[in-house]
């Protein structure tokens, strides 16, 4: 089956006095209805992938490689045709929901906007759909909250408004950028439920970006672990959580509370100055001599991909 989204050798650099390579050749694909989670520490380039797919990177970003959505090369699409896809077939939920919503417009108006932008005139009143979408994300009095403004609501409520807005047209690919960030466990459960239960959830593929492995484990079909602008391990979620292969993946799982809370020593390298050889070698407990000199390739081992010399 042809994948819904196919990313190949995606490279992104930011121009400046010294250009910074934030993504150095990322490839993965997502099938229809599948959930793929990108995990990794902050600053490893996860959000950049999300913005590159949506073509929302700032003008100083240089993007190379290929992003194909249903066979169409998104990187070559003009802005007009790209905006016809955005919010309709391709949707994103930003982190920081309280800033993603416009402070001076009502929730109802902002929720109805994708409907108004993408649907032809003469359709029935959008407010029915908006009410339904608000009910779906757990508001028992939706007509009341339609007249609210973002500044009157909590971050958790705004998060749900944002999910409702981005999913109101039942997109084929939904990108959720850190949807569990800054929420308490009960709210995270709700977000999980909403990401599964929105309209068209059955056919919507989800690109989930998170550093919360517990959250990811409950939602993802596939896991891609990122480190310093590249994928270091890509595997089925079940295999990954049963037996992680890359030393960084082992470290990530080891740092979970239920696995003993052992932090990975050191900190992630700056993208402007990545270490030579394997980018993880300064923090790797198993490093060998060649890890310092050679850059490992992403190898196929029994249906999963690992970027490490030590893995068979």
């Amino acid at each position: 089956m042809k994948p819904l989204l196919e990313i190949e050798k995606l490279r992104v650099s930011f121009e400046g006095e010294r250009p910074v390579n934030v993504l150095s050749g990322v490839s993965f694909s997502i099938q229809k209805g599948e959930t793929l989670a990108l995990v990794g520490e902050s600053g490893c380039g996860k959000s950049v992938i999300a913005h590159a797919v949506m073509r929302l990177l700032p003008s100083e970003a240089r993007v190379k490689g290929s992003v194909r959505f249903k066979g169409t090369e998104l990187l070559e699409l003009d802005e007009k045709r790209m905006s016809a896809l955005r919010g309709n077939e391709l949707a994103i939920i930003f982190q920081n929901p309280s800033h993603a919503l416009n402070p001076v417009y009502s929730i109802g108006r902002q929720l109805a906007e994708p409907l108004r932008v993408h649907q032809k005139q003469g359709k029935p009143d959008p407010s029915q759909k908006v009410l339904k979408a608000l009910k779906q994300v757990g508001f028992s009095r939706p007509e009341h909250y339609m007249k609210y403004y973002p500044s009157w609501c909590s971050g958790g409520m705004n998060q749900r408004f944002l999910i409702a807005t981005s999913t109101i047209l039942g997109p084929e690919l939904l990108i959720a950028d850190e949807p569990s960030k800054g929420l308490d466990p009960d709210r995270i459960k709700e977000v999980e439920r909403e990401l599964r239960a929105h309209p068209g959830a059955g056919k919507t593929a989800l690109l989930l970006i998170s550093h919360d492995l517990g959250f990811v484990r409950r939602l993802a079909d596939k896991i891609a672990v990122m480190y310093s602008g590249e994928i270091v391990e890509l595997a089925e979620a079940a295999d990954f959580f049963e037996q992680p292969l890359h030393p960084y993946s082992l470290g990530l799982l080891g740092s979970l509370p239920e696995n003993g809370f052992v932090p990975i020593p050191g900190s992630a390298p700056a993208l402007s100055d990545p270490p030579s050889g394997c980018r993880f070698h300064p923090r790797c407990p198993y490093g060998e001599k060649r890890c310092l000199q050679e850059h490992p390739r992403l190898k196929d081992t029994k249906g999963r991909f690992v970027r490490c010399f030590l893995c068979p």
């Binding site: 949506m54 929302l56 802005e79 007009k80 905006s83 016809a84 896809l85 955005r86 919010g87 309709n88 949707a91 994103i92 930003f94 920081n96 800033h99 993603a100 919503l101 416009n102 402070p103 001076v104 417009y105 009502s106 906007e113 994708p114 932008v117 993408h118 007249k147 609210y148 403004y149 500044s151 009157w152 807005t165 981005s166």
Partner: protein, 315 residues
């Protein structure tokens, strides 16, 4: 509720301060008002002067004068102009309409023009056209309005002969009012627009980088629909404050423009009053102008609350 009470108190104290200053200022001025009234070349005996002083109440203690002044204000009695031989309130009533028309139309036009052009210029500041407009408005905002008025009068009325030199003194019809007011309104509107333009442009440049603008794009909005459906309303919030602050400034600009174009409003009235030392009239005019600036600020506060939900609470 709490902040509304606070604001009302603040406006009331401003009002009290304005009234007090308006009472005090002419009394602090050097010179004898009675001598002034009679004229310097005329000789009158001390007894006659004392008589006039009693008649005007100027020999009473200040506090009594102040209470008499306040009582007069409550009856809309602003004093009597000895030069024009009629009550100040009547003189002002006849003139202020024209000035308010000039200022009002100019403020509205200037706001619309400044907001629209400023929005476009901030959305794509790098285009040649927008850079040209930016330079033009900077130049206008640096030029004093009376100089701009002289320039317009020189070019459009004198050189090109398109508009009249002087204001109207016959029975006004809409056509003749528009004909006579076109140049003064253009000058004041351009000046007001230049200030709004500069603020709006900077505000749009700032607001378009906000996350909500990016999310609007992520929802599928295209180019200027992001500007007009999301950015403009946020970016024009500072304009509301600016309009209120500018109202007094534009009002004073209008006075000079009226003098240049010989319009029959407050400007020429105040000018003649200053030349003729007609203090009751000046005092009345200042009071009315100060109050209209105060009202403009109250209006801006109310408008702000209506536009920005962040200063409101849910019902």
């Amino acid at each position: 509720m709490h902040s509304a009470v606070k604001k009302t108190l603040r406006y009331l104290s401003s009002f009290a301060l304005i009234v007090t200053l308006n009472f005090a200022l002419p009394r602090f001025m050097p010179g004898d008002p009675v001598k002034n009234l009679i004229g310097e070349d005329v000789y009158v005996s001390e007894a006659v002067m004392e008589e006039i002083r009693t008649e005007l109440g100027l020999n009473r203690p200040l506090i009594e004068q102040f209470s008499a002044y306040l009582q007069g204000l409550l009856r809309f009695d602003l004093g009597y102009s000895y030069h024009l031989h009629s009550p100040v309130s009547e003189v002002l009533q006849a003139r202020i309409g024209w000035t308010l028309l000039l200022v009002g139309v100019s403020v509205v036009l200037g706001a619309i023009l400044g907001i629209l052009l400023g929005a476009y210029a901030g959305w794509k500041p790098e285009t040649k056209l927008n850079r040209g407009i930016y330079c033009g408005f900077i130049a206008i905002s640096c030029t004093p309005p009376y100089f701009l008025a002289l320039l317009f009068l020189g070019i459009f009325a004198f050189k090109l002969g398109l508009f009249p030199f002087k204001g109207f003194y016959d029975t006004p019809t809409i056509g003749s009012v528009a004909y006579h007011l076109f140049l003064p309104v253009s000058v004041l509107a351009l000046f007001s627009a230049s200030r709004n333009f500069l603020v709006m442009r900077g505000s749009v440049i700032q607001e378009k980088e906000q996350l909500y603008a990016l999310y609007a794009r992520a929802k599928g909005l295209y180019d200027t629909s992001i500007l007009f459906r999301h950015v403009v309303k946020n970016a024009s919030l500072p304009i509301i404050t600016l309009l209120a602050l500018d109202f007094g400034f534009l009002f004073s600009g209008a006075l000079f423009i009226e003098i240049v174009f010989s319009l029959n409003g407050m400007g020429t009235l105040i000018y003649d009053a200053i030349i003729g030392k007609d203090y009751p009239l000046l005092q009345g005019a200042f009071l009315v102008i100060a109050l209209s600036v105060l009202l403009a600020n109250i209006f801006a506060d109310l408008l702000y609350a209506a536009v920005d939900p962040r200063v409101r609470r849910p019902a």
